[in-house]
């Protein structure tokens, strides 16, 4: 057997979890729901976002400006100051986004440190990188929508960043602004990106989950209540307020940074744009390559013993990775179905062996007959 868990980071993570277990018990250990936590915050964001969407007006200005100004900034102001609990929902929407990034980072670190990101999990890792980029970009568009000073700077910085890209830079800029300059159409495009891409997350999550049987996507209610309570406390302590309304004629120069979402703008401000894109692209590629760095022997996939399989499909139901498919049995078989292993999905964990009452599926490197004779030898010696 290979040496397991020798990495100091892994050991540290396991000790931390052991310590958390002593306080929270394994049933409520948040580390055991690390993937479900961002998913929970996603639902919070959808619900609060729905309420904000009901009153949000995606324009930068409007023809009746003199009388009673109606635009993105004033609609956000209306949500915050007039609608009952509007400020609470706005605050929850902001901080749930931050919490989502935080829990995604926790999720990434845990799967990395506990070695759960390679081989048969490659689809999860790669789709996870894409999902992370999507979440960061969606979060940034959220900051444009408020349409205060900061939104204006961020928009202009993004435009100049796109401008720095060769070939695709121009079209990207036009797409981003929905035209050649900032207009009402720009904000409606931002709103579309913000919401449309959020629904795109659901598609990404489907790919993220598709190779897993029964993915854990909901933390236990107790954890959910605690998370919402923490969220509300943060909202109460640090209420969200907009800056001044953006004026296209002005050139604001500094803004407050939200380190969960806006760190790319800090990079933009502190390095040449070419270097910024290089860091971003190389960083993403490296992130995608992480699973390929560890050298481990390939998984030896489970093998079905064809003449023993009765087609009962217990292994197929129990396989944690959806790696066993029941196919029609060949003609002449006594049974209707036959289990087949999709080797590229198989983790070699042996859960299917435990599920089989007919010894009809085996790990090639650890036959269950060998295990049984090992048990007998140990008992009888």
């Amino acid at each position: 057997m290979q040496k397991l868990y020798t990495d100091p980071l892994t050991k540290g993570m396991l000790l931390l979890e052991d310590w958390t277990n002593k306080i929270a018990t394994s049933k409520y250990n948040p580390f055991y729901y690390h993937g479900a936590l961002p998913q929970f915050f996603l639902w919070v964001l959808f619900l609060t976002g729905l309420l904000l969407f009901a009153y949000y007006i995606p324009t930068i200005d409007n023809a009746y400006a003199s009388e009673k100004l109606i635009n993105a900034w004033t609609s956000v102001d209306y949500i915050t100051n007039t609608i009952p609990f509007g400020a609470v929902f706005r605050g929850m929407h902001r901080y749930a986004g931050d919490a989502m990034v935080l829990t995604i980072v926790l999720h990434v670190l845990r799967v990395w440190f506990t070695d759960r990101y390679r081989q048969y999990r490659i689809v999860q890792w790669l789709s996870g990188v894409v999902l992370l980029l999507m979440v960061l970009f969606i979060g940034q568009t959220g900051y444009y929508l408020v349409w205060d000073d900061r939104s204006l700077i961020l928009t202009r910085m993004t435009v100049s960043a796109f401008d720095a890209l060769p070939l695709i830079g121009g079209p990207l800029k036009t797409w981003f602004l929905n035209g050649e300059e900032i207009t009402n159409l720009t904000l409606s495009n931002f709103l579309f990106i913000h919401i449309g891409l959020s629904f795109g997350l659901l598609f990404g999550l489907w790919i993220h989950y598709v190779r897993m049987q029964r993915p854990v996507i909901t933390p236990p209610p107790a954890i959910n209540y605690i998370l919402v309570a923490i969220l509300l406390m943060v909202v109460a302590w640090m209420p969200i307020a907009s800056g001044n309304m953006a004026q296209l004629t002005q050139q604001p120069t500094s803004f407050e940074i939200d380190w969960f979402f806006l760190w790319p703008y800090w990079m933009m401000a502190n390095m040449p744009l070419g270097a910024y894109w290089l860091v971003l692209i190389v960083g993403t590629v490296l992130l995608c390559l992480i699973p390929y760095t560890a050298k481990t022997p390939p998984v030896e996939a489970a093998e079905v013993v064809l003449n023993k399989c009765t087609g009962c499909s217990l292994c197929s139901k129990d396989c944690p990775y959806n790696a066993i498919e029941m196919v029609p049995a060949p003609a002449g078989s006594r049974f209707k179905l036959l289990a087949t292993v999709k080797e590229f999905r198989c983790s070699g964990c042996g859960v299917c062996v435990g599920a089989c009452a007919f010894d009809a599926i085996d790990l090639p490197n650890l036959l269950d007959t060998d295990v049984t004779s090992q048990i007998k030898a140990l008992v009888q010696n």
Binding site: K27, N29, A355, A357, V371, I375, K376, L378
Partner: protein, 178 residues
């Protein structure tokens, strides 16, 4: 040590508590020599048939050990064997297996000490149970009420069908259902 004739087999996930340093060359625990250890890549691979095989070939007790529930490296293996032992998921453990002689422990990697102390107390409890007639004899009538219950706690001693251990009619004769 070795005072009794207890022979306990541990079926353990290799990612659960770290026993590498606690085993002697023959696969027995150094501190509790009655307990031998068989490692699996995942506790989900453990077949109830294996537990029955161990009992049939003379083991007086079986300890099933997986990682903390919720922390299976392969996502669900420990839940699977847990549900199989309880009887919630086929294939289950035969009724002929004396439930007092099977416990399950869910332990994380650093909990080696916990495993050894649980193993010790399990061996002690087995010694108090009425001697098992060799090879799966009919269980004895006066159900020894007190023993196993103690080790429950968080580690969850597994005895779903508490008192009513079965009185099998067929004794050891029933093979492995094949």
């Amino acid at each position: 040590m070795a005072d009794s004739k207890q022979k306990v087999v541990t079926l353990i996930c290799e990612r659960s508590c770290d026993l590498d340093a606690s085993l002697d060359a023959t696969g027995h625990l150094k501190e509790v020599s009655e307990v031998s250890v068989v490692k699996f890549p995942c506790s989900g691979m453990i077949q109830p048939l294996m537990i029955e095989a161990a009992m049939k070939s003379g083991a007086t007790g079986v300890i099933v050990t997986g990682c903390q529930i919720g922390d299976c490296y392969f996502r669900e293996g420990n839940r699977m064997i847990r549900e199989r032992l309880i009887g919630d998921r086929p294939p289950g453990l035969k009724k002929t297996v004396d439930r007092k002689r099977v416990i399950a422990l869910w332990l994380s990697r650093p909990q080696t000490g916990r495993f050894i102390s649980e193993a010790k107390s399990f061996v002690a409890q087995l010694a108090q149970l009425p001697a098992p007639a060799p090879a799966l004899a009919p269980a004895t009538a006066p159900a020894a009420a007190k023993p196993a219950a103690a080790s429950a706690k968080t580690a969850e001693a597994k005895k779903p069908e508490k008192k009513s251990e079965s009185t099998p009619e067929s004794g050891g004769a029933n093979g492995e259902g094949k």
